[in-house]
Amino acid sequence: MSDYDSELDASGLNCPLPILRAKKALAALEANQTLKIIATDPGSVKDFEAFCKQTGNELLSSGEEGGKFVFMIKKS
């Protein structure tokens, strides 16, 4: 079983598109489900922190994997 319920690949896209797509993907999830996001925009690290802070969703993790940024967000 994977540790997330849905995955979004926002590689190659600049802010705000990864955020907008994550917002849409989260809307399709139930509370407590987890979304995995992959992005390449270096600004996305700060952006997803700000996004979670403002929307109340929980940023479970934020890290780098093979030159890409990976975020796990749990829907509130």
Binding site: C15, P16, L17, K46, D47, Q54
Partner: protein, 209 residues
């Protein structure tokens, strides 16, 4: 009068002063002596921080072309509507130029000089718009329209051109004919026209003749 500053602070001051001078007079219009005078140091001290005028200009370009705006708040607070999001993004972008018009001046210089920093300005500053427009139009435009791909590409170009021209008029023209137009009005009007032109605006009530 000589002011003693720690190295990193002096470096920042040199960058700040030279940014203004380069933005105003261009690379060839400014001498190392002039920059040194503006920072209140000798040219020798300036050369301790930057090997040449070119190295200093490149550092100024690198700093400006890597400046990114965050659109997180703009998109969180503006709902999911394409037009609303684009208005909020445009406001953020225009305000960044309003805070530092050197961003625009130096970008134009780098474009005219064929400097590689031009692509950094695009990657870090304009691509947010072209990505958003490309992606959204791919979702919003009917699949059976003619020349779909070229229409999406030209829409991105049109938007970039429109915003850039408005900014050039507002910030680089001595006789500013947009002086009475607020930044937010400007953003909204440009986006309204754009959305109409690409044909995805919401249906409007029939106008009375």
């Amino acid at each position: 009068m000589s002011t003693r500053l720690p190295g990193p602070e002096r470096r920042l001051l040199i960058l700040k002063e030279s940014q203004h001078l380069f933005a105003e007079k261009g690379f060839h219009g400014v001498s190392i002596d002039e920059i040194a005078r503006a920072v209140n140091v000798s040219p020798a001290i300036l050369y301790r921080h930057f090997d040449s005028k070119q190295a200093l200009y490149d550092a100024v370009l690198a700093e400006l072309s890597s400046q990114r705006e965050s659109y997180v708040e703009a998109v969180i607070n503006s709902g999911a509507n394409f037009e609303e999001v684009l208005v909020s993004m445009t406001e953020v972008f225009i305000h960044s130029i309003d805070e530092n018009p050197n961003l625009l001046r130096i970008e134009m210089q780098s474009l005219l000089n064929g400097n590689p920093a031009t692509s950094e300005f695009f990657e870090n500053r304009w691509k947010s718009f072209t990505d958003y427009i490309n992606f959204s139009l791919n979702e919003l435009l009917a699949y059976d329209i003619d020349d779909r791909e070229i229409k999406i590409l030209t829409a991105s170009l049109m938007f970039q051109g429109m915003v850039r021209e408005a900014l050039l008029q507002k910030y680089l023209q001595p006789q500013d004919r947009l002086i009475d137009v607020s930044l937010n009005e400007l953003s909204r009007e440009l986006v309204t026209l754009f959305v109409r032109a690409v044909g995805i605006d919401r249906p409007r009530p029939a106008e009375t003749v």
